[in-house]
């Protein structure tokens, strides 16, 4: 007796998993990650806060309630009032305007240094992990020696050597901040270069540069994005450190760190001068850390169902 073996398609039709709405929606890794990110409450709050400061920063480039540098707008050290919602500082400058301007500096330095440091770290990490041998020894030695000195010292002396413009500050921070990224990318590359798809690419004669850019880099992008996100708050704190020590963006630029240390002199009679930039800075850093935590959970493959 011959049995009729149903074809796969027939089984599929029977089970109603072919055609129409039954097919599971096609999602890419990144769409999936984005969906999980937007379901994470802290990450969303973080993004809202970052968005708020980004808008503030952009607005501050064209408009602030008062000029950030204009002095003697009223009684110095006076607290919050209707005309000056965050009060005036020791030179009678409007603190709200200066906090807004500070957002522009903090985010430019934070995002700028994160991008530059990531670029340096990714390139050196890829080279060390892919070519191994002497290249790796050299780059790893550079990393290990740099880890042996507090990065703040290196940044401080660089600023003294190359000057205190905002681009120089970004450069000085980047030169100390790429180490973690290079280590991460090196580790990822070491693991990925042994995978079958890289071998397949190499066997059909793909050039090294293309293997690195098309096959290895995209597969390491998840952890890279997370690391780059964490680099932003780290760079913002770093810029504040430099400004505190008097080696940040030169005055009268309203850097949050500078504002805080200027207010420190009068912390007993006018704590609002110190508190305003400190609150803005801590909020921004907190928001980026929340976003980074959210991204990590959303992208980490071990968390996937």
């Amino acid at each position: 007796m011959a049995t009729v073996v149903p074809t796969t398609l027939e089984v599929a039709e029977e089970l109603q998993i072919v055609g129409g709405d039954q097919l599971p929606e096609q999602v890419t890794l990144w769409q999936d990650a984005w969906r999980r990110l937007t379901r994470n409450r802290m990450a969303v709050i973080g993004m809202v806060i970052i968005g708020f400061f980004l808008v503030t920063a952009v607005v501050s480039f064209v408009w602030t309630p008062y000029d950030t540098w204009r002095q003697a707008l009223g009684i110095t050290y006076s607290g919050p009032s209707l005309a000056h919602p965050l009060g005036l500082d020791d030179y009678g400058r409007d603190i709200l305007s200066r906090v807004m301007g500070g957002a522009g500096i903090a985010l430019s330095v934070g995002v700028g240094a994160s991008l530059v440091a990531s670029a340096i770290g990714i390139i050196l990490g890829l080279l060390a992990g892919f070519y191994r041998g002497k290249v790796d020894v050299l780059i790893s030695l550079l990393i290990n020696i740099s880890y042996g000195v507090p990065d703040l010292l290196i940044a401080l002396i660089l600023v003294v050597l190359i000057g205190r413009g905002i681009q120089n500050i970004i450069l000085a921070i980047s030169i100390t901040a790429w180490l973690g990224m290079a280590r991460l990318v090196r580790g990822q590359t070491l693991a990925l270069r042994e995978r079958e798809f890289v071998e397949a690419a190499r066997s059909i004669g793909t050039k090294n540069l293309k293997i690195l850019s098309r096959h290895i880099l995209p597969n390491a992008l998840g952890p890279i994005v997370v690391q780059a996100t964490y680099l932003v708050p780290a760079a913002i704190i770093f810029e504040a450190f430099l400004s505190l020590l008097g080696l940040g963006v030169p005055p009268p630029a309203p850097s949050w760190g500078r504002m805080a240390v200027e207010g420190y002199k009068a912390i007993q009679i006018a704590p609002h001068i110190v508190l305003a930039p400190c609150v803005a800075l801590s909020l921004t850093v907190l928001a980026f850390n929340w976003l980074g935590d959210g991204l990590r959970d959303a992208i980490d493959p071990r968390m996937r169902r």
Partner: protein, 320 residues
Amino acid sequence: MFPRREVTRGTLVYAFQRLVLITFTAVVVSSIVFIGVHQLPGNAFASEHRATAGTEAALLHHYHLDLPWPQQYVLWLEGLAHGDLGESLVNLGTQITPLLLREVKVSVTLGLAAVLVTIGVGMSLGVLAAIRQNTWVDYTASTAAVIGYSVPSFVWAFLLILLTVSGFYAWTGGAIYEDIGWGKIEQIPVPALALGLPYAAIVARLTRASMLEVIRQDYVRTAWAKGLSARVVILRHALRNALIPVATILGPLVTGIITGSVVIEYLFGIPGLGQEFVTSILSRDYNIVIGVFTFYAALVGLANLTVDLLYPLLDPRIRY
């Protein structure tokens, strides 16, 4: 609490290798700074002192600055081999090595106090959060941890100064208030807290995560089943193993605290290495700057070595 471990030959060899590496790093780092600084245009006395040509030449000769830099470098290396870092460019006659040795003691005291804060506060919060998982204690401690590490040390410094100086002064009518500075025991806790709290938050997060993993393991259930008291189960059995992953971040943490101390020393007027670095870099006293780099490289290396040597005490599976 810890099992007795004897110092093995392997440990000694390992420590020796690391010491060689630390010395190498310190020499390389300070050499890079030395060479970099000596490429700068002009000299230390050209404009500021308005010296006559004769005194300027005498000063340059005194500091060997009239020699080509490779020769100066060799002289400096010879000094370094004898532990002599040279003389301050700003304060004529001030020997740098004894000055920095005095200051490194201050920095190490502050740093150790900060490490105590970090471990004490961080571990307690982490353990509390873990054993009360998913209760308000856990949520409060976990939220405090994220906020804690987002607030940088200098903001903690300002908040603590507001509390202990202005706050205490106002509330007690001037009877109790913190006297910012250095030299008395009671002046240590406030800067140590400011320095340690951001890192305490990181330790708390890690301790919580690793405690949660450990307290679900069989041997902990056995300990409960034997009828041991909660204190013994949590502190003796669970915490000891939970600390192993936490110990891995002690190295970066110590480096972070050393970096943070530069800012904290500056804000609190503490006469340590960090404060010295900032003043000497602002007054362009490059001899001291180079010396501070040498000291810091040695300090970071020795701190990390100490952490690594303590590690086998925590995890007997690790041997060098």
